[in-house]
């Protein structure tokens, strides 16, 4: 971990975010947040869209970006790389109680289940196909996978004929609705945003327990003063017009305080070498 | 020998194999052949001579209709060769066998395949392709190679052969093809005198026995005697002279090959004749 020695205000803030929604949306709404922060802190701020999870972590860890929108897993990864240099500034209200859905194609004849052990029993040996979203995602891969393993005692690969990674939440929904895959897992907000027609074709069969998810993270070397400014700006997001638009998109009422300790569970999970499907 | 080569039918007067009238060919703005006109009858054996760059090779390319003439008219087997296509073209190609001056062989194919290429005009595409894996008509290839003294090189690659051997392989291909007309562009240039003589003898004896027509480009004038009925001399893209080999004399040659011409041998042999 790099020691923070020069804690003067940066002359520029670059925001990156993990790519878990369509690029256009993200550019638009994170652009709004960037403008809000720029107005609040007086430091030129820019959102750079990066289409790779590892690149976002690397960018923050090596000081190429100053503020990053991470999922739970990426936060833990960044922590593993940066140690205490990483500081969580804020999270959405919903991030403290995030949920994922297991969905199934309506024609596949899979009823809602109470827990995933039941699901595993139901599909065992039936040649069912299953898709996660992106392999690096928390809510469309890691958490559904670990809930599945905890509850059924089996890996998804042992139960389903095929376990694929379609790339993102939206594609999971589309593919399951089309019947190309029988089942899939995805996070809550993308499912809620989708059209009713799609939802009808791919109903929820199981909702996971709550878990912590996204947050804004930054580097300590930015200096406490700047971090406080950003913190204030984020918490006051709902006060500006553009902030409200962004919050609307993020399906949130507003940002709240958050601390790295709330993500340490994931760090432990990663350190324990959790199964990620290989 | 081959069912496909029709016997020379005596009944109607066979059309001349080639008839050229005022033929010209240019590359870019440069006319390399001008006002060429001659006829070649079936079964004739003709030699073409001329200095380097006179247009001999180009003339051959016109005769086998791969180059279109830019002026005049060429008839092959009595048909104008301008509008040929499809089956007719194929038949004509089969009947005209050409031995080129260089690059006769496909370097990536073994000798046997190169020789059997002479059969392509007769084979269907599938058979030709199978032949690449399992040579069809191997005896014919072997026989032809034997005639050019290369029977043991059936499976060699062209790159493993000496210059003269390569030229002989190309000759074997011509033998396998059994065309009605044979055009040979300097077939003996890289061969030693004995082999050169024998190849010319081979060509002309085949031509005589089968009644084939033979056109040969030659630089070695002493091979003219006895094997050819007529000589065409090209100079600077024009038909400079034609006549029987005996008609070649010192002045003619001097004029043909340039004024500085001073070849000892020719003066002597012209005297000998």
């Amino acid at each position: 971990p790099v020691v923070a020695n020069a804690s003067q205000a940066p002359d520029k803030i670059t925001i990156v975010a993990i790519p878990d929604d369509s690029a256009d949306n993200m550019r638009q709404f994170f652009g709004l947040i960037a403008r809000h922060i720029e107005d609040a802190t007086g430091i030129p701020t820019e959102y750079v869209h990066v289409e790779n999870y590892a690149a976002t972590v690397t960018a923050l860890a090596t000081g190429r970006a100053q503020l990053a929108w991470f999922g739970a897993v990426t936060t833990a990864q960044a922590y593993l790389m940066m140690g205490d240099e990483l500081e969580v500034v804020a999270a959405r209200d919903i991030d403290k109680e995030f949920i994922s859905y297991f969905i199934a194609n309506a024609d596949a004849g899979i009823p809602p289940v109470n827990d995933l052990a039941e699901l595993a029993e139901l599909v065992q040996g039936k040649n069912r196909t299953f898709t996660f979203g992106s392999k690096s995602s928390t809510s469309s891969h890691l958490m559904p996978r670990s809930f599945f393993a905890d509850q059924s005692g089996q890996r998804p690969e042992q139960v389903f004929r095929t376990v694929a990674y379609s790339g993102s939440h939206d594609v999971v929904l589309q593919k399951v609705a089309n019947g190309e895959f029988h089942l899939g897992a995805l996070g809550q907000p993308p499912y809620d945003r989708a059209s009713d027609e799609l939802k009808a074709k791919a109903p929820i069969i199981y909702t996971t327990p709550k878990f912590t998810n996204y947050c804004f993270a930054t580097r300590k070397s930015l200096g406490q003063e700047t971090i406080d400014q950003i913190h204030a700006a984020l918490l006051g997001l709902h006060e500006s017009d553009e902030g409200r638009q962004a919050l609307d998109y993020l399906k949130s009422e507003g940002f709240v305080d958050a601390d790295m300790s709330e993500w340490m569970g994931y760090v432990e999970l990663l350190k324990s070498g959790v199964d990620i499907g290989n | 020998m081959d069912a496909n080569s029709p016997p020379p039918s005596p009944a109607p007067p066979a059309p001349p194999v080639f008839r050229l009238q005022g033929v010209g060919k240019r590359f870019g703005h440069q006319w390399v052949l001008r006002e060429i006109g001659f006829e070649i009858a079936a079964g004739e054996r003709v030699a073409i001579i001329g200095p380097s760059g006179a247009g001999k090779t180009t003339l051959f390319r016109l005769l086998c209709a791969v180059l279109p003439a830019d002026a005049g008219q060429i008839e092959v087997f009595g048909q104008p060769c301008a509008g040929l296509r499809g089956r007719k073209l194929k038949r004509m190609r089969r009947d005209i066998g050409v031995l080129y001056q260089s690059d006769n062989l496909i370097p990536q194919l073994r000798v046997v395949h190169n020789v059997l290429m002479g059969r392509l005009g007769r084979w269907s595409l599938p058979r030709a392709l199978i032949s690449l894996l399992w040579p069809q008509d191997l005896p014919a290839a072997r026989a032809a190679l034997e005639r050019v003294e290369l029977a043991d090189r059936l499976w060699a690659m062209p790159g493993e052969l000496s210059g003269g051997q390569q030229q002989r392989v190309a000759l074997a291909r011509l033998l396998v093809q059994q065309p009605r007309v044979m055009l040979a562009d300097e077939p003996v240039s890289q061969l030693d005198i004995r082999l050169g003589r024998e190849i010319i003898e081979l060509l002309s004896s085949i031509a005589t026995t089968l009644g084939n027509t033979l056109l040969v480009n030659l630089h070695t004038l002493e091979l003219l005697q006895g094997h050819f009925q007529r000589v065409l001399a090209l100079k600077d893209g024009r038909l400079f002279w034609q006549g029987p080999p005996a008609g070649l004399n010192r002045e003619l040659l001097r004029e043909l090959y340039g004024t500085e011409y001073q070849a000892l041998y020719l003066e002597e042999s012209a005297d000998v004749r």
């Binding site: 590892a54 694929a164 | 194929k90 496909i106 790159g159």
Partner: protein, 605 residues
């Protein structure tokens, strides 16, 4: 007679020499070549292995009910594409992306070409080692001479360069020079360098030594031999492949976007991920249009550089000055594109969406400062692969699926490309009269030209549409699994290969065809053109096989896992030790396939 005396005086008197020291086996054993049969046998064995080692599910093909359902799904999926997004705003967006892609891809390819030529000089045996007294298998030992060692080193470097996926280079470069399109372009350049250097060196090595012996004998050193002999002799194939790679880079340079640039390839990838099929269609149309113009431009450049005097255009030639000027025009056109790309990246209106335009060339200067390199330490754990035996076994096992898929997919692709390269070839469809002597009337020419246009469109679409899209399409039909992935790989490979296949045929001088034309164009194609181009075909096919083995994304999408997928998986999860093990395996496979392909040049197929 004095002659006889002289004859007797000669040292090695011929008539007495027994020649014990030089026994000649006579008569020559007639050795029918077994190479082709061995090749066919090997391929058959490999095919059987591929079909037994992995689970193939053909039910969608065999079961009529399933087939109907599958067709329905495929239809629905295709229908999703029928309504492209043509809103003015999106079109403007696409246009901006097109320029960015073009600039970044051209910069990436341009840098790669320069680097690859240098690297290939090291890794081509004919150039770096040059003349050797050793023959046969002795030539396989890298330690036989310092130059041979250098040669092996360069080969390893280029193998690593292309075995490591471009996004990994990009992530590493982010640490060094930060985010932006230039980072993507450089990452692209690194990857393409590996690709081009491999193919250049192989094309150079496949030129017959006899043909440039003259340059050696004239006293040229190894580099002079390259520039006066090997280079010109292989120039056409090298040109074709370079232009093909440039086209590929323009088309699917998703990596530029991965690290904060913008571009068509990247955007398609985003839109695919989020299922915005209407936008995907529009973007694809733009890509195809761009590909088509790149194709036309590269044809133009090729034609200017092509110096075949028997070519019809050359026959109409004007003055010598004009002829000479043509090659400068060709080079000039290429240079102009390159200069524009640098200008655009530096000073043009080059903002990726949502960012301000700025000089993206500047960050690259950081490469020169030692400071930036410190961040490389970030990836130090990559140097400590996880070598626990059980895990290594897993890694090795995970190679079987990609190998099986790549084998079947590449074979199908090569087959399709070989069939398609006949109608695809300009010389056989458009200008065949130049060597057949045929006088084709318009009603004969028209269908041929139509065939060619159709074949080219087929090729264009099958390589222009990303593999991932094909994978999605065939998942809709076959369901997720090996079959869908394999067919996707086959179609994409066919599209890429048909272009280089048919170009290597168009590169043969017409004089060659003319001298061997026997009346039928297909026969001439099969027996003259293909054997002549065969070595180049092999090079390209092996290269395609190699890159298909590495394909990761498709494998992930069809749920087949495999090496490349696991590698990127572990890398993205920052499990560098495990990733490193997978990477070692990928590099090993790459090296094995590469060396096999080079070994085959010794044999004559």
């Amino acid at each position: 007679m004095s002659a006889d005396q002289l004859a007797d005086n000669t040292s090695g008197s011929p008539r007495t020499a027994a020649g014990d020291k030089f026994p000649n086996p006579s008569p020559l054993p007639e050795k029918r070549p077994w190479g082709p049969w061995a090749a066919i046998f090997t391929i058959a064995v490999l095919l059987v292995a591929a079909f037994t080692s992995a689970e193939w599910d053909f039910t969608a093909l065999t079961d009529p009910d399933q087939r109907r359902l599958a067709l329905g799904r495929m239809g629905a999926w295709l229908a999703a594409f029928a309504a492209p997004d043509f809103s003015a705003e999106f079109l403007r967006h696409c246009w901006a992306l097109t320029l960015q892609t073009l600039s970044a891809a051209v910069i990436g390819t341009g840098l790669a070409v320069v680097a690859a030529i240098l690297l290939a000089m090291g890794s081509a045996r004919a150039v770096s080692v040059g003349e050797e007294e050793l023959t046969g298998w002795h030539r396989l030992f890298p330690l036989r001479s310092p130059t041979a060692l250098l040669c092996s080193l360069c080969r390893i470097i280029q193998d690593i360069l292309r075995a490591v996926p471009d996004f990994v280079w990009a992530v590493i470069l982010v640490a060094v020079i930060g985010l932006g399109p230039m980072t993507g372009a450089l990452a692209l350049a690194l990857n393409i360098t590996g690709i081009l250097a491999k193919v250049y060196s192989e094309l150079w090595d496949s030129v017959d030594e006899r043909r440039y012996e003259q340059v050696r004998v004239a006293g040229g050193g190894r580099l002079a031999v390259l520039f006066y002999g090997i280079g010109p002799l292989a120039a056409r194939s090298v040109q074709s492949f370079t232009l093909m790679r440039a086209e590929c880079a323009i088309r699917n340079a998703a990596v530029i976007g991965a690290v904060g640039g913008g571009g068509l390839g990247a955007d398609i990838w985003y839109q695919i991920q989020f299922g915005a099929w209407d936008k995907v269609t529009t973007l694809l149309l733009f890509t195809l249009a761009l590909t088509l113009s790149a194709d036309l431009l590269s044809n133009f450049i090729r034609r200017q550089l092509r110096s075949d005097p028997n070519h019809p255009r050359a026959a109409r030639h004007q003055s010598v000055a004009w002829q000479l000027a043509r090659s400068y025009i060709g080079v000039g056109a290429a240079l102009a594109v390159a200069v524009w790309s640098f200008w655009f990246m530096g000073w043009g209106d080059n903002a990726p969406p949502g960012q301000q335009a700025r000089n993206f060339l500047l960050p690259a200067l950081e490469l020169l400062s030692g400071e930036a390199w410190q961040h490389i330490a970030f990836f130090e754990r990559m140097l400590r692969p996880d070598l626990e035996p059980a895990f290594v076994l897993t890694v090795i096992q995970s190679a079987s699926v990609p190998l099986a898929m790549a084998l079947v997919g590449t074979l199908l692709g090569v087959l399709a490309a070989a069939m398609l390269s006949y109608p695809h070839s300009f010389s056989f469809m458009w200008e065949s009269h130049q060597f057949t002597g045929e006088a084709a009337p318009w009603w004969l020419k028209l269908p041929r030209r139509l065939q060619m246009v159709l074949a080219r469109l087929t090729g264009l679409i099958s390589r222009g549409v990303p593999e991932v899209m094909w994978a999605f399409l065939f998942i809709a039909f076959f369901g997720p699994g090996l079959l869908a992935g394999t067919v996707a790989i086959a179609i994409h490979s066919a599209g890429v290969l048909v272009r280089v296949f048919s170009e290597s045929i168009d590169n043969i001088p017409y004089r060659r065809f003319e001298q061997s034309f026997s009346g039928s164009r297909p026969t001439c194609f099969g027996l003259v053109a293909v054997p002549t181009a065969w070595r180049d075909w092999l090079t390209y096919a092996f290269f395609q096989f190699e890159s298909n083995v590495r394909t990761a994304v498709v494998l992930g999408i069809v749920g087949a896992g495999g090496l490349g997928f696991q590698f990127s998986f572990n890398f993205e999860w920052f499990r560098f030790e495990k990733a490193a093990t997978y990477l070692l395996m990928i590099i090993a496979l790459t090296v094995i396939i590469d060396r096999t392909s080079r070994l085959l040049r010794f044999s004559r197929v």
